[in-house]
Amino acid sequence: MTLSLPQTPVLWGIAGVFAILVIASIVVFALTKARPARDYNELKARIFSWWVMVTVLAVAIVLSPVVSVAFLGFVSFLALKEYFSLIPTRRADRRVLFWAYLAIPLQFYWIGIEWYGMFIIFVPVYMFLFLPLAMLMTGQTDGFLRAAGSLHWGLMTMVFAIGHAAYLLALPDDGNPVAGSAGLLLFLIFLTQFNDVAQYVWGKLFGRHKVVPAVSPNKTVEGLLGGIATTTLLAWLIAPYLTPLVTWQAPVAGLIIGFAGFVGDVTISALKRDLGVKDSGSLIPGHGGVLDRIDSLTFTAPLFFHYVYYLHY
């Protein structure tokens, strides 16, 4: 992982994201002036949180890939901590949870030293086998299967999947001559978050037919399709500046991110519904918890990574 400043298209991309935030802030300001009677506090908090999140990510990307990987590792830690705090756990498994947390620095260390072989098997093979071993030490068989399953699901989702976003930075720069590895990360995160907003806006404007009423009653077919279409179009437009994806590859990347983002979102909704909570936490004002913000990324990151990896590396 070389220490170099991100290439110009990445800086332009970051500038573009800030431009979108400026426009959004102006729109919200105009709305509050035009309709003083309505309460826009939730929307304001949400935009403010966007400013903070985008700034932190932008600083990490501009500083160095190492800082960006460490930052994503920290996000992974927050998400896993939220998950472990939400789910039922066994008192006897305290030490097992501690080992599960330790997987984060190790996994992001493999990413930092660009050891692909270890990165790709560490959680699905070694942690998968080690946690049950650690659980045997507790000698408690009550709830063994549920605990083994739920702990590993957390590691796969919060550490392994999110780690894929970080591994984009460990890919060799010559695979993406236009914008380097940071270009791929920016492309993935921007389109994933943009897709969330696009599906929400399409759903608000034209939503009629519920798509998964049992899990997420606000999600509609119109929102889903409109969001995917917008994301696909945007992917096709910006891919030449940030990624090595050419011709049909760019819109397909948009389709993958649009659909996978939806599935990730609904999967975390199903988890929250199962646990009887509305938000996964309260760390991000206007958004909820960390998991509420990166739910889509848990699906888009591994799928986008392996798509690009297969085509270009």
Binding site: E82, S85, T89, R94, R95, Y101, L283
Partner: protein, 216 residues
């Protein structure tokens, strides 16, 4: 009476306690605005972990740190010289003798004085950490204090999750987001039984605000 070392205490809370509480643990605080902005006051919380004191002290601005005094068991925290130094100089505890039959004297003299000076006491009416994530009956020491300094606001706080993160009998800290629910301030009611009943009821009501995952 041993006074805390304000400089070391400030550094310890700024550089160790706050990062630990806010980054390693992480708090969901409800009704933060109900915390007392000035003393005299007693913050009364349920007790499951050594972290309870650290979390409660982190809720206040650092400028109030010199005013914050946890009331803690003398037999436990003064059991050796290093622990006693750390507890009284850095954490700034007011030691309380839990067993008071023989020696005579007023065990509540120091906390009463602290309240008279306008301090904010942190007190665990359960008396000890007990079984993790289980609330035990409240001891009545807090009622004596409330009666003696009736001007002090009594603020009930319910803590959840710290007994999971660092229960009694272990040094291994496992990160969990923890919940802190602050109740509305109450005052001395004029009668010990009704005061204790009211305090316990408020604590139970706060506990009922949350929905906590099973942990057995």
């Amino acid at each position: 009476m041993v006074t805390p070392n304000h400089f070391l205490r400030f550094l310890f809370f700024l550089l160790v306690v706050r990062p630990l509480v806010l980054v390693v643990l992480g708090l969901n605080v409800r009704h933060r605005e109900r915390l007392p902005a000035a003393g005299p006051a007693i913050v009364a919380a349920n007790h499951n972990s050594h972290l309870d004191t650290m979390v409660l002290m982190s809720l206040f601005p650092l400028s109030l740190l010199p005013r914050l005094r946890p009331v803690a068991a003398a037999d436990y925290f003064l059991r050796n010289r290093i622990m006693a130094w750390f507890a009284t100089r850095i954490i700034g505890i007011i030691p309380l003798k839990r067993a008071v039959h023989a020696s005579g004297g007023d065990p509540l003299a120091e906390p009463t004085e602290a309240l008279a000076r306008g301090d904010i006491l942190i007190l665990f009416p359960e008396g000890s950490r007990g079984d993790p994530e289980h609330m035990e009956g409240f001891k009545t020491g807090i009622a004596h204090l409330a009666k003696r300094r009736a001007e002090a606001a009594i603020v009930p706080v319910f803590l959840h999750g710290l007994g999971k993160a660092l229960p009694r009998g272990t040094f291994l800290l496992v990160p969990f987001f923890c919940d802190v629910f602050v109740g509305e301030a109450m005052a001395w009611s004029g009668d010990r039984a009704s005061f204790m009943a009211e305090l316990e009821k408020r604590e139970m009501d706060l506990a009922a605000e949350g929905r906590f995952p099973a942990w057995e």
